[in-house]
């Protein structure tokens, strides 16, 4: 022993650490101790091993790293004496867990100790094995443990029984080896062994059906008798807990009986009497008694039906529920949740009490009760329950509101008897707890509102009132802003007044006030503000008298630091100022959103996500243009049969798209290539109000003629306008409108790229011809870029009438990228007296493997009647690439664009 050693005693170290006033001081002390322990470890100083490990354990508990002590544990375990082993095993259990490799090194020592002559050492080894054994160790040492189940000393038998539980949990295959010895333990008189034996049998039954059958057949009666003896046993001070003999054994026996009785009528019959006795005789004034009753109720609920017992059990739960002790009420709620599948009528009887528990001051009880109420709701009681819950929402704790709101929304969506009720309830929830409502919930609400055409006016008026009172509820504001944008005119003109409504007078400027307040409110985030801008644009069209004021508000955002807002306001301002003629068409009301498509998409958001990532391969050659994953694009599904059928949505974010707000990634990202990423923002596309295209996409704009100036922008916007109009039609088609983007921003990007027209190389073809119309195509390629082909489409009117509103649309499969320039005109004079030309650029990413192919659709008005023609062009010159037949496979998703000129 080194008298000069700086070693301190464990007690002194703890004292020194406790005396530390700051964390830094503590760290210093610990560091010093660790250093001396490390030194001592490397000196192999045997006298202090024991003490060092104890210190390390304390340091470990404080949360400091103690890896270097792991080997010390192993050394101590390998030492011969009991004291060393005792502390060694303790260290092993504390410092290591089953996932550490070091643990494998201890297997041998464990094996030796399991065979040790000193039973306390055997006990230590069993305890360690039971607490941290890995699957490998369990396999290696199972025979030893199995043998120890028959050891003479009960202390070892019970430890071996619990150790076996760990083993069969880690390696269920080993279960059969233990069944016989485990069943033998059930005949023990020693409580500890019986307790652990019962527990082992329960776990055996869980991992192996053979074990379950065996124990059910051989032991059920015996167990019933044991339970009877325990229940009727006289006072034994050793096991007494508040007047009950060994409640732990009671509970474990009941649990095993539950497993045995479940699904087996004979076994259930066998235990009926004793369960009735336990349920009726157990004292319920102390926790121990209640614990037994609780377990007993659960057993009665799980075993095969016996109505008499069930009544007894439900009565016990009723008593529990009205207990003053919170613990008892908590477990009652817990139990009722399981009872609801067995006897929902009986649980419904306690509805009022349960509803009271939702309002408890205890969060755990509230949570349980809320979940129970959620299960209790059905078509008959949904109105009463929802009203109660919403009333409570007003006064509930902040941290509970989120749960509560989610549950109410879910109940309302699930059981809503009628649309108006749904809208009423949702608006109430939004007014009370709008900030807690999840995005998909309010998106769903908007879909419902959009579909409830009878209640548009009612809803917008209700929202107008609500939003005056609760400006802080972000989601309420958003829904209100959206509805006012869409149905603002109904608000002012009191259209669609219902009998139950109070009349309200709202002027146009009141309506604009609401939006202005929202956009200026400090709590409004980017999404809300962006929605406000759209609403303002729409209102500017509906309320011409307020147009100037609206313009002022929009202009105020021109200087916004958030790129998204800045861009929107500049674009919208330009629409209001310069493009009066197209504004009204542009601001058309949204088409009714497809409810079923939305719910399908919501339900299958995962596959949809997978699909969209696949779709993103179909990137159009500009930043705002989107891969065609939106339902609207699918509607013009060119991969399907000749008559395009509106396909259900499989797209990305349907509602987001329609709202034109996909800003979830936050303002910090606005202005990056976020739109490209988010992918499918149909409305953004429609209005071309996505964030600025990423720099990488600029070259894609090159093909645009900047020289065409405002004319082009007008035409492009007109094209957009017509799109939003056609969305009412059966075959809506979103525009991907790239040109307005460029035009509105008035020309950025390098000057127009010069295409080398090479007529000689490729003959022109008649791409499409019908009775009324002929379309010819010229081809040219850019030198050095064989993948790109420039097409010049020429349209000739073969009839004797003028075509107006002429729109040419085209779609290509994924491996192609299509870019359409604006058409030269949108009016096609009669009898071949002139033509429309339009340039297209197609980039074939599989040049040389697949040939160009394209579906087209041409829409125009003939004597004010809509005419639609469509076809497929696959007769492109061979020089453009070899023929391919794989084009129209069913799952190909197509991109498309459309253009139109005034």
């Amino acid at each position: 022993m080194n008298p000069f050693s700086s070693e301190t005693r464990l007690r002194d170290m703890i004292r020194a650490i406790r005396a530390c006033k700051t964390a830094a001081e503590e760290r210093a002390v610990v560091r010093k101790e660790c250093a001396t322990i490390r030194a001592s470890v490397s000196d192999n100083d045997n006298d202090y091993k024991h003490r060092n490990l104890a210190k390390l354990m304390f340091i470990h508990m404080l949360g400091y790293p103690t890896h270097f002590g792991q080997m010390e544990c192993l050394k101590l375990i390998a030492a011969p004496g009991f004291p060393d082993k005792r502390i060694g095993y303790l260290g092993l259990m504390l410092l290591l867990d089953e996932r550490q490799e070091v643990l494998m090194l201890v297997t041998n020592s464990l094996k030796q100790d399991l065979n040790h002559s000193n039973q306390y050492i055997v006990g230590l080894a069993l305890c360690a094995l039971g607490n941290i054994s890995s699957a490998e160790m369990a396999r290696d040492l199972a025979p030893e443990v199995e043998r120890l189940l028959l050891f003479r000393d009960p202390n070892i038998r019970k430890k071996a029984a619990l150790c076996s539980i760990r083993i069969i949990k880690k390696v269920p295959d080993l279960a059969e080896n233990f069944v016989n010895s485990a069943a033998a333990l059930l005949k023990e008189k020693h409580h500890g062994v019986l307790l652990t034996g019962v527990q082992l049998c329960t776990d055996l039954c869980k991992v192996s059906t053979e074990a379950l059958e065996y124990i059910r057949k051989r032991c059920t009666e015996g167990l019933v008798k044991v339970l009877k003896d325990v229940v009727n046993s006289p006072y034994v001070p050793e096991y007494d807990v508040s007047g009950i003999a060994d409640p732990f054994l009671h509970i474990r026996l009941l649990r095993l009986l539950r497993v045995l009785g479940h699904g087996d009528a004979d076994a259930s019959d066998c235990m009926n009497d004793i369960l009735a006795q336990v349920a009726s005789k157990t004292e319920s004034n102390k926790n121990a008694g209640n614990a037994i009753l609780y377990e007993c109720v659960e057993t009665i609920m799980s075993i095969e039906d016996n109505s008499g017992l069930r009544v007894l059990a439900i009565n016990i739960l009723g008593r529990f529920l009205s207990n003053r002790d919170n613990n008892i009420r908590y477990v009652a709620l817990n139990m009722l949740m399981r009872a609801i599948t067995v006897d929902s009528q009986a649980v419904q009887r306690h509805r009022a009490t349960i509803l009271e528990c939702v309002k408890d001051s205890d969060a755990s009880i509230r949570k349980r009760a809320l979940e129970l109420v959620y299960l209790l709701v059905n078509e008959n009681n949904v109105k009463i329950l929802t009203k109660d819950l919403i009333d409570y929402l007003e006064i509930s704790d902040q941290e509970f509101k989120e749960d509560l709101t989610a549950k109410i929304c879910s109940i309302v969506e699930k059981f809503s008897p009628e649309k108006i009720w749904y809208i009423d309830q949702m608006l109430q929830v939004l007014s009370e707890a709008g900030n807690y409502v999840k995005d998909e919930v309010w998106h769903a609400l908007i879909v419902v509102i959009s579909n409830a055409s009878n209640f548009h006016g009612y809803t917008v008026r209700l929202l107008y009132r609500a939003v005056q009172k609760s400006v802080d509820q972000e989601v309420l504001v958003r829904v209100a802003v959206w509805c006012i944008g869409e149905y603002g005119d109904m608000l002012v003109n009191s259209v669609g007044m219902l009998d139950i409504e109070e009349p309200i007078t709202v002027t146009e400027s009141d309506t604009v006030d609401v939006i202005e307040t929202a956009i200026k409110h400090h709590t409004s985030d980017l999404t809300t503000r962006a929605m406000c801008l759209i609403a303002l644009l729409k209102l500017s069209c509906r309320f011409p008298s307020c147009s100037e004021r609206i313009q002022d508000i929009i202009v105020q955002n021109k200087g916004s630091l958030v790129l998204e807002l800045q861009q929107r306001s500049i674009e919208f301002n330009s629409i209001i100022q310069k493009h009066q003629n197209i504004r009204s068409a542009l601001c058309e009301r949204m088409p009714v959103l497809d409810e079923s498509a939305y719910s399908v998409r919501r339900a299958g958001s995962l596959p949809a996500a997978a699909l969209s990532s696949q779709d993103s391969a179909v990137a159009l050659p500009n930043g705002v243009a989107k891969p065609s994953a939106t339902p609207l694009v699918d509607l013009l599904d060119l991969s399907s049969d000749d008559a395009p059928v509106p396909a259900p949505s499989q797209g990305n974010d349907f509602l987001h798209d329609l709202l034109g707000v996909d800003l979830s990634s936050g303002p910090s990202q606005a202005g990056t290539n976020q739109t490209q990423k988010s992918g499918t923002d149909a409305l953004l596309d429609l209005l071309s109000i996505g964030t600025t295209p990423a720099p990488s996409s600029f070259p894609a704009l090159e093909g645009l003629s900047l020289g065409q100036g405002t004319d082009t922008s007008v035409s492009a916007l007109a094209g957009l306008a017509s799109t939003s109009t056609t969305m009412h039609a059966t075959q809506p088609s979103p525009s991907v409108g790239i040109s307005p983007m460029v035009d509105l921003l008035n020309g950025f990007g390098p000057p127009e790229q010069i295409w080398e027209v090479n007529d000689a190389a490729y003959p022109s073809i008649v791409a499409f011809e019908s009775n009324n119309l002929k379309m010819t195509c010229n081809f040219s390629k850019q030198p050095g870029n064989l993948q790109s082909t420039l097409l010049e489409a020429n349209f000739i009117n073969k009839s004797s009438d003028v075509y107006t509103d002429f729109i040419f649309q085209a779609a290509v499969p994924k491996f192609l990228q299509l870019h359409l320039d604006p058409a030269s005109s949108n009016t096609l004079p009669a009898s071949g007296d002139g033509s429309i030309t339009q340039k297209l650029r197609v980039t074939n990413s599989q040049h040389g493997k697949k040939s160009l192919v394209m579906r087209i659709r041409i829409a125009y008005k003939l004597n004010n009647k809509d005419v639609l023609e469509q076809g497929q062009i696959s007769n492109f010159p061979h020089e453009c690439g070899p023929e391919s037949t794989t084009f129209f496979n069913g799952d190909a998703v197509f991109a498309q664009m459309e253009e139109k000129q005034t």
């Binding site: 508990m61 089953e98 996932r99 202390n155 539980i165 652990t196 050793e238 614990a291 755990s364």
Partner: protein
């Protein structure tokens, strides 16, 4: 099954942890952090259960110390309260009206006692007397070994080695 046992002081200091399910060192400190903020803030009259990550944590406060045990959703919470009390009573008998300081300075003894009550997260012994007897027997083994080590004959035999 009990997944872990946690003793936390009123101030949030950890006094004892015992893990029956595998948690890495990092997870362990996270668990402790989460649970102490969850449990220490609860008002006294509330129920003794908190739901946490799909488990239930049963806790009980004795003087300045919170005894917490984490169990499965379908375990009997009321029984776990009894197990906690069982442990506390045995500690109390062993130390003679136990206080937090006893557990700080003799944390290893608290572990030894716990190891006689729980193995593999299951209850091992329902008799307090038996636990006390087993712990005492092992303590005396240690004492005997110590005495032997300090005895003259042992020192002489070591010296003459």
């Amino acid at each position: 099954m009990i997944h872990f046992v946690l003793l936390i002081s009123r101030q949030g200091k950890v006094r004892l942890t015992k893990w029956y399910s595998p948690y890495s060192q990092k997870e362990r400190s996270k668990v402790i952090r989460e649970l102490s903020s969850l449990i220490l803030t609860r008002a006294p009259k509330l129920c003794n259960f908190v739901e946490w990550r799909g488990f239930k944590v049963v806790y009980k406060r004795y003087a300045s110390l919170y005894f917490c045990m984490c169990i499965n959703q379908d375990d009997n919470e009321l029984e776990v309260l009894e197990i906690i009390h069982h442990y506390v009573e045995i500690l109390d008998r062993y130390f003679g009206s136990v206080c937090e300081l006893d557990l700080i300075f003799n944390f290893h003894k608290a572990f030894f006692i716990l190891d006689e009550i729980l193995i593999a997260g299951e209850l091992q012994e329902s008799s307090k007397k038996t636990v006390a007897r087993l712990v005492a027997a092992q303590d005396s083994l240690v004492e005997a070994a110590k005495e032997q080590a300090n005895s003259m004959s042992y020192i002489i035999s070591q010296a003459t080695k």
